[in-house]
Subunit: 205 residues, 2 copies
């Protein structure tokens, strides 16, 4: 079975779309998604790159483009009122899930992990939930049958911080510079617009 | 017959791909391409945006991605040795072609204009020709049956400068912020990755 490494951050609109489109593609081709939450804000720090720096006409276009993409895919995307948003707590919580449910803590392909990641994406990009709020993250965890208090405590732990730093640093070392990014068969792809190329890798190689 | 406004600059790799893919799509759906050369360097001036500012890992990725896209489309793209390159003379020459061949000078859908635009794209992005060199532009014009000296003189005229400034300023006023961009049925699309959306506009509306 092939694995697709999926680098994402909850703050990335295109990662939201990919979080639903990629698992569908992988399911079709018997492949597995390896969920790799990265902290874009710390990745961009010191590079001089500012994801929010753009002309008003470009910003206007991008929201319109996301709306069209939502219509195209059928995903009920809605522009959130808080944007950008702090995502580090949600990313750390995500990374702690495998260990909390008694699985290998270093295995990021667990289904509960993908369930939680998709739940956070839906909360922020469909229902305008404040995902920087620990209580909100707890409620999402509870809705998936996880212990909210345990998850919130784990998200604040040193281990969670170390995991997020480690995944982000490993991504940078590998060449990742944004999100969503996908690695399959040693090939790296950037953006939801390259999912077709990811799919071709799963079919042909 | 529908018209697709195609904003491009010769310095844009993605415009190169679009310059061949868009006419194919339009032909299939009985639509016309309106070739609108814009000067990206002057469009970006004063916005604080620097198209070349990026981490080495992002730059490396982008060339690899272009190479893959070339394989995907069959277009013989080759990374040019001069990059970026000054394109204003080539853009001005392009805009003067309709008038020089005795057609309406304000009609940018003339076939000689698209022939010349595609010839310049191929020269730069396939054969590493220095398209900032007037002699090279003259040779390309000659190969299309145009008078090279007349075209070079026209490219340097005040009229050519005014045309390039006018198309670029009109584009900005309309919301264009990069290239390639397409406008069809009042909808604006950015990037070769939205050609599928352009095609859907030609089919459904």
């Amino acid at each position: 079975m092939k694995t697709v490494d999926f680098y994402f951050d909850y703050s990335s609109t295109n990662s939201y779309f990919a979080a639903f489109l990629l698992p569908d593609i992988c399911r079709k081709h018997d492949a597995i998604v390896n969920w790799l939450p990265i902290h874009l804000a710390s990745m961009f720090r010191g590079t001089g790159f500012d994801v929010m720096a753009m002309t008003p006409r470009k910003a206007r276009y991008l929201w319109r483009d996301h709306q069209r993409y939502a219509e195209f895919t059928g995903l009920p995307f809605r522009k959130p009122s808080r944007f950008p948003i702090k995502t580090s707590a949600a990313l750390r919580a995500t990374l702690m899930i495998p260990g909390l449910i008694g699985e290998d803590p270093d295995n990021y392909t667990a289904s509960k992990m993908s369930d939680f990641a998709q739940a956070v994406m839906r909360a922020y990009w469909e229902r305008d939930v404040d995902i920087s709020d620990l209580a909100m993250l707890g409620a999402l965890a509870r809705s998936l049958g996880l212990n909210a208090d345990t998850l919130i405590a784990a998200a604040g732990s040193e281990e969670a911080r170390a995991r997020l730093a480690s995944v982000t640093e490993h991504a940078i070392a590998r060449g990742v510079f944004g999100a969503p990014m996908f690695v399959v068969d040693g090939e790296m792809f950037w953006g939801k617009d390259r999912l077709e190329f990811v799919e071709r890798c799963l079919v042909t190689k």
